[in-house]
């Protein structure tokens, strides 16, 4: 049994303009100690998937159907009391913007100790020791002194380290990282990614890494899910996704990043603009922007197909390819 099993998850936001289907049938399994990357552009539903797992959706958002099982326990119908025990304790999350995730009016130490005392029965002294230990783990220099400082005295990279320390203080089984390095400079980003990899090896937790940067995915992830318009286009091991992409959207994404191999040539962008989630087409959501789109793509949505044991894709082109090779 996988540590986390998400099955046909549908999450919608009910706005004045209508129902926005932000997540549209997402399924995946996360094994203990693995790093899963979720990539996609803004509005693809990658963050909402994470928020649905944590059940921290905004007021208008609701899980419409589907199941989320953590260690065999169903979370969707579990209720707030169970979720309070799960959040921060079993599953932790760190957010994109380390500037706004910390409370500016309390010291770093206070905020770290609050998280620790909430989820464990440590007293104040023990919580202090644990907090210092956590700051050491994330390579914050002179942690005792830093404990007494306020967030404004920390740089962006240091704040993100504090957020990681806070998220890991209760040794969760899963860490969800929602674009943790997007607001940071490259050299700082490299440090944070390395830190996450090291800690992951040490503690053995699983990570769900949400990002739009394929470079980050390549560096960190064992498995990858590519999302578009709330659905999963393709999922598989990192090597399969990068070296054998089987969905036109994934292929387009990989082609559109400048690398050393397409240097000097023109980039091949994906034409058009991202889809309006209020007006979803009947067929494949990517069909309006897809250069290879066929009649069936516009008419009918493609179900997930198995490419090989490490790889699944929802693209009619796979059928075409299979028919042609027979």
């Amino acid at each position: 049994m996988a540590l986390l099993e998400v099955n046909d998850l549908h999450t919608s936001f009910f706005t004045d303009a209508g129902e926005v289907r932000a997540v549209n049938g997402v399924s995946f399994n996360l094994e203990r100690g693995k790093v899963l990357g979720i990539v996609g552009e803004s509005g693809s539903g990658k963050s909402v998937t994470a928020y649905s797992i944590m059940q921290i959706l905004a007021g208008t958002g609701k899980i419409v159907s589907g199941s989320i099982k953590f260690d065999g326990q169903e979370l969707v119908s579990a209720g707030e009391k169970v979720m309070k025990d799960i959040r921060g304790n079993k599953i932790s999350i760190i957010f994109q913007d380390p500037m706004t995730s910390l409370n500016p009016t309390y010291t770093i130490g206070h905020q770290l100790m609050e998280a620790i005392m909430l989820h464990t029965d440590r007293d104040k002294k023990q919580a202090w020791d644990r907090a210092v230990e956590m700051l050491k783990l994330v390579n914050v220099n002179s942690p005792e002194k830093r404990m007494k400082q306020y967030p404004y005295e920390f740089s962006g990279g240091m704040r993100q380290r504090v957020m990681i320390a806070m998220a890991l203080a209760c040794e969760p089984d899963i860490l969800i990282a929602d674009e943790p390095t997007t607001a940071l400079d490259v050299t700082i980003q490299a440090g944070i990614l390395e830190l996450m990899k090291d800690i992951q090896k040490e503690i053995g937790m699983a990570i769900i890494m949400i990002t739009h940067d394929l470079g980050v995915v390549a560096q960190l992830c064992d498995e990858v899910i590519v999302m578009y318009a709330g659905g999963v286009c393709e999922q598989g091991t990192a090597d399969e996704i990068f070296y054998n992409p089987c969905h036109e959207y994934t292929k387009g994404l990989i082609r559109s990043i400048p690398t050393t191999s397409n240097d000097g040539e023109k980039l091949e962008p994906i034409s058009g603009t991202p889809i309006d989630l209020l007006n979803m087409p009947a067929g494949c959501p990517f069909a309006p922007r897809c250069d290879a789109a066929m009649k069936i793509c516009i008419r009918e949505k493609c179900e997930r197909m198995v490419i090989n044991e490490d790889h699944q894709s929802a693209c009619w082109m796979n059928v075409k390819k299979a028919v042609e090779t027979v």
């Binding site: 803004s42 490259v186 050299t187 980003q189 390549a218 559109s256 023109k266 962008p269």
Partner: protein, 342 residues
Amino acid sequence: MLDECKEGGGNGMSNEMNTNAPLIQVKHLKQYFNISTGFFSSRPLKAVDDISFDIMEGETLGLVGESGCGKTTAGRSLLHLYQPTGGEVWYKGKEIKTKSDINEFRKKATMVFQDPYSSLDPRMTVSDIIGEPLDVHHMYKSREERREKILELMSHVGLNSEHAARYAHEFSGGQRQRVGIARALAVDPDFIVCDEPVSALDVSIQAQVINMFEELQDKMHLTYLFIAHDLLVVRHISDRIAVMYLGRMVELADANEIYDRPLHPYTKALISAVPVPDPKIARANKRIALSGEIPSPLNAPTGCPFHTRCPYAQPICSESMPEFKEVEKGRFVACHLTEQIN
């Protein structure tokens, strides 16, 4: 140093088109801001401190560095959006000094801003946003001519004429950036400072906009100063790349050269930190770790600004500022130890 700089610029070209004279020459440009430290006291923050470079006609010069290194300030002070504290900016062999020089210069040198959301006035229609530079510089004779010009500009950047009457909030990020680019092109410039023009965009849209920059450059003979922190993008679009750290330029070289064989220790660390979108390369990649963080420009270290984080630092690095000198043809590095460490 200046002479070297000029000569180096001319020789370091990779593109045959760029063998012309420099379009823009920046000499010892300084931009300090006064930060008040008490009731009566203030201290200069040296955002840009003594940088010199040339930009050839038709060239794209990439300017990279981390946040707070002064790359945006350098671009703005070059355009005289700030009054530079010191140094000179030359355009086509003539120094920009008087107010009328600046006015003339602004017809030839424009800017595209990073944030397509805050750089467009939400109360103006797209046609008024694009038409504003035309109004300011009185560049049309009749309303009909103004309208025609605006529609032509919109077609250059791939917007439909029906978009003209709409407001900025009705567009996606990529389309807004197109409006910003059309506005920059309105006065028919030679030179555009592009300040992180694609960093706020999604990957698939980013490639569309990068291609458009390249097409416009060919079509309208534009010269770019392309400021960005994404090294893969900068490498793709630039002929040469300059690297800044804490207000100073540390390295300037041909784009592929600097990426394949960086000479300055900071450039080495920066390039090794770029996440490569290829799992096999990424796993094999050895990153050069930098200790600590970028110091505050208010308390810049003595000597070489990078010595506090440099893995190769020697006593001399904290004592004297290394000269920004040409070490190979067209290659400039500011490091005492260039020979020892390479």
